[in-house]
């Protein structure tokens, strides 16, 4: 997914001389062709994220479109005030590409885990947040990032090993959710790589005669509230699934609009995600997801319970 994203930046930059790239201190060889062919729009600034964000803002205030890339937690938590003021308050076209959103860097420990990135950025006016499910969705997203107004955070999941779970059949549009599956009994709302878990869970449930709809939300902000409410109105059991803290992320965003919707019948609702804690194990992304019950099994058991009690 990262490769698809960064290659897209290079391809877009070849066609559009407003596009600049700023990295902090990325892995050797990253965007080598960009660096060689368009050196005056390629910057590797070093380990100084506060400056990187300000510099990107300066370029964007001059009309450039700036793609900034480093590890997700360093591009969000580390330089939060710069993101808030230099980018969001000035409302400039800077795209933050965060490597390793969620639990990708599990072996590296909690200092490298971006598990509250969506929550903190969601609180910032003007910010757009996207979390594609796979590299094909990333490919569909990237051309749309050029003209999209204001700052944007692009959350990258794992690398080559992510399975392809989206198709070209459903047109991708920033700000729109994607109904991936119909279902009359329950609703599973996903973002990023958790779409795969929902697909697995919905197949298992279908075997039991439970039809769960899946609404995939690659754009967490602005949230496609109308689509969420539309699907939620026809079911009584809803779960959200995210590789993120249950505080302030997709689940919280959906809970907010459900609570304010004033449905005639009460809904059973659960946020499946990382509990309010610093992850306390290493291992792998998958093992840490399992530790915090972000699994297809949790989705199926939760919905079964909602529908039988």
């Amino acid at each position: 997914m990262r490769q698809t994203c960064l290659n897209s930046v290079y391809e877009l930059a070849k066609k559009d001389d407003r596009i600049f790239f700023v990295g902090s201190d990325l892995g050797s060889g990253t965007l080598q062709e960009f660096r060689k062919e368009i050196p005056d729009r390629f910057f590797m600034e070093g380990v100084n994220e506060a400056h990187v964000i300000g510099m990107a803002s300066g370029l964007a205030l001059e009309g450039k479109i700036v793609y900034v890339n480093t590890i997700a937690t360093f591009i969000t938590r580390r330089c939060f005030e710069q993101v808030a003021l230099d980018l969001c308050m000035h409302n400039v076209k800077v795209r933050l590409i965060g490597n390793g959103g969620g639990l990708v860097y599990a072996p590296l420990g909690p200092t490298h885990l971006a598990f509250e990135d969506i929550a903190i950025l969601r609180a910032l006016p003007n910010m757009t947040i996207v979390a594609p499910a796979d590299r094909d969705e990333m490919r569909r997203l990237m051309p749309q990032t050029v003209e999209w107004p204001g700052p944007m955070y692009i959350r990258l999941a794992k690398g080559f090993t992510d399975p392809i779970v989206t198709t070209d059949d459903i047109p991708f549009e920033i700000g729109k959710s994607l109904p991936m599956r119909k279902g009359k009994d329950a609703l599973i709302v996903t973002t990023g790589i958790t779409l795969k878990l929902a697909q697995t869970a919905s197949e298992i449930l279908s075997g039991d005669g439970i039809e769960a709809a899946i609404l995939h939300i690659p754009t967490i902000k602005p949230l496609d509230s109308a689509a969420v409410l539309n699907l939620a109105s026809s079911v009584n059991a809803i779960v959200t699934v995210e590789e993120h803290s249950i505080v302030g992320g997709l689940g919280a965003a959906v809970a907010e609009i459900l609570a304010e919707a004033g449905f005639d019948t009460p809904k059973r609702f659960k946020r499946i995600g990382i509990p309010d804690t610093f992850p306390d194990q290493y291992g792998s992304q998958d093992s840490l997801m399992a530790r915090y019950d972000i699994t297809a099994e949790t989705i199926t058991s939760t919905l079964r319970e909602f529908l039988t009690h």
């Binding site: 070093g46 400056h51 990107a56 803002s57 003021l85």
Partner: protein, 290 residues
């Protein structure tokens, strides 16, 4: 190494006389204070001659077209000194003078810190410290990329130079040899709590900038002729960014405000304080009664 032992008695700029124009600009600021009853008085008064010379003699701009591409960019990174910038921008015609008297009021465009987009002539929203120089680096890179000869001036405070982001940006500017970038330091040697020497000593300050790749010079920040001469030489070196360290006096021009920490920021200014400010300016050695 230029280690400056600080004492009020031997402070550079302390004995520098202000001319009628400098007194006039201070009077206008007092009038703003009179309307709003608040403002960063000390940090504004130390800055006036710096901004006066920049806007009178150095910067290239067109108030009728504040976003003219070839203009020099001037970022007031120490945004709390904004009153000094506001009076200059109003005088040059960026916005109607009446806005000055609505400082910090709900129906005005001029807030306690400058906002880009709202105020013509303000390049970046500042106030949170340590933001202006990184933004200025981005703008200087843009100017170089476009092959434009406009320059980027970033005015920073001394206390602001406690912020790591200032030095992150300085490292980049030095390494990239951004000769179209000029950092202007308002070195009044007072921050909010105490002197800069007591809170977080910046010395050897000139050497710090030099070691980050800047061509550096120091000047009496209240001496109009000296400021004019130094600013007219920017860039000091053709392949380096410039730092001009302006030795200033916080509160310059009003004896009871000068180096008085309680005048860093004032709110609910009383009538008698306003009157005292006016009287002090009238009685200033080079003021009307000089």
């Amino acid at each position: 190494m230029s280690l400056i032992p600080f004492s009020i008695e031997n402070q550079i700029g302390a004995s520098t006389r202000l001319d009628e124009r400098s007194i006039h600009l201070r009077r206008r600021i007092v009038r703003i204070l009179e309307c709003s009853q608040r403002g960063h008085v000390g940090a504004t008064f130390s800055l006036i001659e710096i901004l006066r010379v920049l806007y009178d003699d150095i910067l290239r701009y067109d108030p009728k077209n504040p976003i003219w591409g070839k203009r020099d960019r001037c970022i007031l990174s120490k945004g709390h000194g904004c009153l000094a910038q506001y009076v200059m921008l109003a005088e040059k015609g960026f916005f109607p003078e009446e806005e000055l008297w609505k400082f910090c009021q709900a129906d005005g465009i001029l807030g306690g810190h400058p906002e880009a987009g709202k105020i013509p002539g303000v390049e970046a929203s500042t106030g949170a410290l340590g933001h202006g120089l990184p933004i200025g680096v981005g703008m200087a890179i843009h100017a170089r990329y476009e092959g434009s000869d406009h320059r980027v001036f970033v005015v920073v405070g001394d206390g602001e130079c406690n912020e790591g982001s200032v030095w992150e940006a300085a490292m980049s500017a030095g390494n990239r040899k951004l000769s179209n970038l000029c950092v202007v330091v308002d070195y009044n040697k007072q921050q909010s709590y105490d002197t800069t020497f007591a809170v977080q000593n910046l010395e050897p300050f000139e050497d710090k900038w030099r070691s980050f790749g800047f061509a550096v010079t120091a000047v009496d920040g209240h001496d109009i002729n000296a400021l004019r001469e130094v600013f007219s030489k920017v860039p000091l070196k053709p392949d380096q960014p410039t730092t001009i360290l302006c030795h200033t006096v916080k509160g310059k021009g009003v004896d009871f405000v000068e180096n008085n920490l309680s005048w860093h920021h004032k709110s609910r200014l009383k009538e008698e304080e306003i009157r005292a400010l006016y009287e002090a300016l009238e009685g200033y050695p080079c003021g009307k009664r000089a």
